[in-house]
Subunit: 337 residues, 4 copies
Amino acid sequence: MGKLTVGIIGAGRIGRLHAEHLSRNVRVSIKMISDVFVTDELNSWATDLGVGRVTNDYKDIMQDPDIQAVFICSSTNTHVPFITEAAQAGKHIFCEKPISLDYRQTVEALEAVQKAGVLLQTGFNRRFDHNFKRVRELVQNGTVGQPHLIKITSRDPAPPSLDYVKVSGGLFMDMAIHDFDMARFVSGSEVTEVYAQGAVLVDPAIGELGDIDTAIITLKFANGALGVIDNSRKAVYGYDQRVEVFGSEGSVGTNNDFPNTAEISTKNGIIRDNPKFFFLERYHDSYIDETRQFIDSVLNGEKVPVDGNDALQAEKIAFAAKRSLSEGRPVKLEEVK
Amino acid sequence: MGKLTVGIIGAGRIGRLHAEHLSRNVRVSIKMISDVFVTDELNSWATDLGVGRVTNDYKDIMQDPDIQAVFICSSTNTHVPFITEAAQAGKHIFCEKPISLDYRQTVEALEAVQKAGVLLQTGFNRRFDHNFKRVRELVQNGTVGQPHLIKITSRDPAPPSLDYVKVSGGLFMDMAIHDFDMARFVSGSEVTEVYAQGAVLVDPAIGELGDIDTAIITLKFANGALGVIDNSRKAVYGYDQRVEVFGSEGSVGTNNDFPNTAEISTKNGIIRDNPKFFFLERYHDSYIDETRQFIDSVLNGEKVPVDGNDALQAEKIAFAAKRSLSEGRPVKLEEVK
Amino acid sequence: MGKLTVGIIGAGRIGRLHAEHLSRNVRVSIKMISDVFVTDELNSWATDLGVGRVTNDYKDIMQDPDIQAVFICSSTNTHVPFITEAAQAGKHIFCEKPISLDYRQTVEALEAVQKAGVLLQTGFNRRFDHNFKRVRELVQNGTVGQPHLIKITSRDPAPPSLDYVKVSGGLFMDMAIHDFDMARFVSGSEVTEVYAQGAVLVDPAIGELGDIDTAIITLKFANGALGVIDNSRKAVYGYDQRVEVFGSEGSVGTNNDFPNTAEISTKNGIIRDNPKFFFLERYHDSYIDETRQFIDSVLNGEKVPVDGNDALQAEKIAFAAKRSLSEGRPVKLEEVK
Amino acid sequence: MGKLTVGIIGAGRIGRLHAEHLSRNVRVSIKMISDVFVTDELNSWATDLGVGRVTNDYKDIMQDPDIQAVFICSSTNTHVPFITEAAQAGKHIFCEKPISLDYRQTVEALEAVQKAGVLLQTGFNRRFDHNFKRVRELVQNGTVGQPHLIKITSRDPAPPSLDYVKVSGGLFMDMAIHDFDMARFVSGSEVTEVYAQGAVLVDPAIGELGDIDTAIITLKFANGALGVIDNSRKAVYGYDQRVEVFGSEGSVGTNNDFPNTAEISTKNGIIRDNPKFFFLERYHDSYIDETRQFIDSVLNGEKVPVDGNDALQAEKIAFAAKRSLSEGRPVKLEEVK
């Protein structure tokens, strides 16, 4: 294997996270990072990391012939144009989820990718989590038999800012989309129908923005299994991310990850520390793995582990959930066009 | 407190279970037990237990002026006439669930009870389980705050016989009814809407009888919370009975009960024995407690811990679930008449 | 099987406990209970339980030809004379542990039993605990292979009264004696050498009485295994009773028993309730089982599950531990005469 | 903070491990690595990592004036001369444990360090483990109160090669030395007395070399606490590393680390995967942390987190344990000269 030259678009939290992991990958050279706001702090951070250049124009990346792959870590509304542009420039693409908030646009972006013959990986990092990978494995190798029930718990420690909520695309598209992908990943089957219940129980201001903060979403799968996802924007005890697959031969369930295993026995009960706080802690290793596997796939000319269709399917489920909630009825995936 | 003289109608599994527990209660005298089939074995069992008399005519119990309370442990289709008759005879009543498979009939039976001014307890024994009582307590005392999500897992180790399935009233009325009651019990709120998904994944013969063996049922509660119950007729690892209540200040979840705490570390993994096999093992103590509390309530002239309305509400949810499944839409409880 | 007529000597906590369990055993008739202090309360309790007669003279029991078996639940200093007397009267014997605080006397009591040809069971109730039975089973059936390390944790929630400490025979004879028996029970091997470390860390008043409240006792077994017991008179979180057997093919460890399985997630951590408080709660079922098995053994003329030699061996280990502590060196069991 | 230039002596498993972690530390430059065997593979590995130079003569490192700190990762018998030489050359030192197998020599090495005024950190990496750090913290902050009992379980998945056993210094010096340090670390107190039991239960060949493979070591601490360590060279279920500190206000115990949290329910029981296999997996992060903290300490001119005295004390306990085993009696630390 040789070395891959990459560019990163967007130097926010997630762009920097990828940059740090890529900088430790001996098969990667980060030639450029772009952000609309270039500060001294960003320059200094990039230098420390060995990033070749910082620019405020993403086009510098698109037009650099050395750059073989781009990481699109900018805001969701830029994903479709950037994917299209990168594809046309013949660059492989790693793009954060979701691709877009509009089904038609996502389809068009994927068509551009296909036409260009480049690879596109989407940022469903949870597929690389040690717990969920093990669940998938135990379903695939038949340990739990034929899946009957898929259960996913996904609760954030605290709601995002209201500013973020406004542009997030809503709980289904912003938060549950990871769970929709997880449902497909662990079941090994497509979702065919969705029924969503939602409520505003955490913060009325979220409701005023037309969004919900609590949800129970039931699913039907092509293989006959039934599923359910529960979401909350606020679990006071921290990030709660668990999966259970129950099947004809058994069941597998996962717990959260904890910062340590200490069990403290006191006169007030047996106590352990709260789970790892949020996604940066919990999914630390899965972020490393997803970029490493993307790099390997590109260098080896192999299929990426999570592709554009995976993004599209999860988005479809999110659209169906949205419609289900607004119309108060189960919605079939085939209704989403 | 004095002593209570009781009669038991039905000497099947559950009738004998209650008889055995009552026989160890120093405040109870079992004067009579009736069953349509009186065998030598039954007589001998009754003698060992100190039961006064065995009869093949339940009317002997109804007409005995000494008998202050009756336990109705006969088949579901006899519950309504027996409740009515016992009420008219001025006897307090303990009746197994459900009261009937017909909403109108259940209402009439409860009216007869009310008119007679006798006490009626229904057999939702799980309310007396050490785990679920603790969940209820932690909700009631505010530890988990305002409930947002109620999750109930209820899976049998193996499906009942097809003969039983035929007369059972279906999965919702026969099996999930316990979970509907549990949902009300732990949430402290009424269910207002139900959406049920069902599937036949365990045994096609169950489907041929018009029943299902796998279900995910979502609930809306009057207090704004959302809920979900998942059911299966066959968990190969044994009886699976867990509850989780997630709220604004925290969450409480319960695990199954196990025959021991031994954790066995081998080269093939860390293993523990399967959960207690089925309801007789898991709910052993809760059956004792429910009869003990019924006896205490009658002797003290106090309210029973689970009354006729509790049965009616659970049945209503079951009717709504049935309609939801057949019509493929969420059904409001107020639609059930 | 017929019915066994028994008498109980001593109506303190443990005598009454056995009486209650025996009263629920359909194969037992309690003809008499004796205590040096007969109160109205005792009479009323005995009547409720269906005990035939209360006497203040244990000889009434010894001399009653109907009584086939006696439960010796009086203070330790009476065990040897009562065992001897009961044996001579041809009665089978259940005796609480220890038989005596003097090796010679215990041997003499056992000789009297042997001479009379009666059965003697000693009160090592923990052998009937669901957890420890399972450990024994997994050792016996080879799951853990050849035992290498035996570890026993045994900590009380609070020290006994100083008055009790004075007559208790000391921590080794009073408290650790259960663990010495457990070591033999789970390892399936005899102890050959003991080294004991002791400290007074809980209450200096215990030290002033010449006793200790904290100990670590290491053991060597005839089968080559090594063992360790740790004791404390005060675990603020409650009764702590765990065992681990590590062997060539694996390991088995047990946890405490808990009043429920609820796991409470709060912003301050994940909490569960403290273990069952003390021996009456934790060993509730094992007390029932030990008396039931004694009754069965006597009625069937079979060997009892825990016999006089088991008591003698545990006492021998206690003597060796005591000597080890006072002489500051490992002591071989064969040194105890 | 600036950057620290380091040299590494020994390119075996542990030398390379440190090199890899140091290569990712932006404040470190690895100027040289030495090994008696320089192969193409080593050269290529070093190049990939960005190591300046590979040499077969450690003196090149000692004599390079740019090198401010050395990592001594060569065999134990070289530690004392290399420490002495590095100290005389004014270089800060990170040295693997133990410093030597001879008490006098360790003392002399530490004197050389002190005279030179350089920093010396020793490789007790387990102090940086997330679990044990938390235990230490809970002892230090008073959560468990005054420590009464310290329990350490430390079992390897498989014995080392017999060739290694020969030069290892024996189980106490090679394996238990980590536990001796852990005992001091979590208790916050010095060990004053040791009693060791040992056995050959895993492999007779280990016994033929004069070593043991199974041990139970009891400890007395200056603060009055009692302790026990159990060791085995072979736990078939994998690396077993647990600690418990029991005190006047509570107790804290840790479990092993696992590769995932999946709990698999099957008809044969509830199963989870074995713990992380061995020290490279289990202590992965603690190795990173110990080097990072050493670098920080040197750059900041601060005390190192584990110093020479820590090594000396652990070695002293190992000597005492060895003598205890051979003389069959408890040995006071003050006897070790």
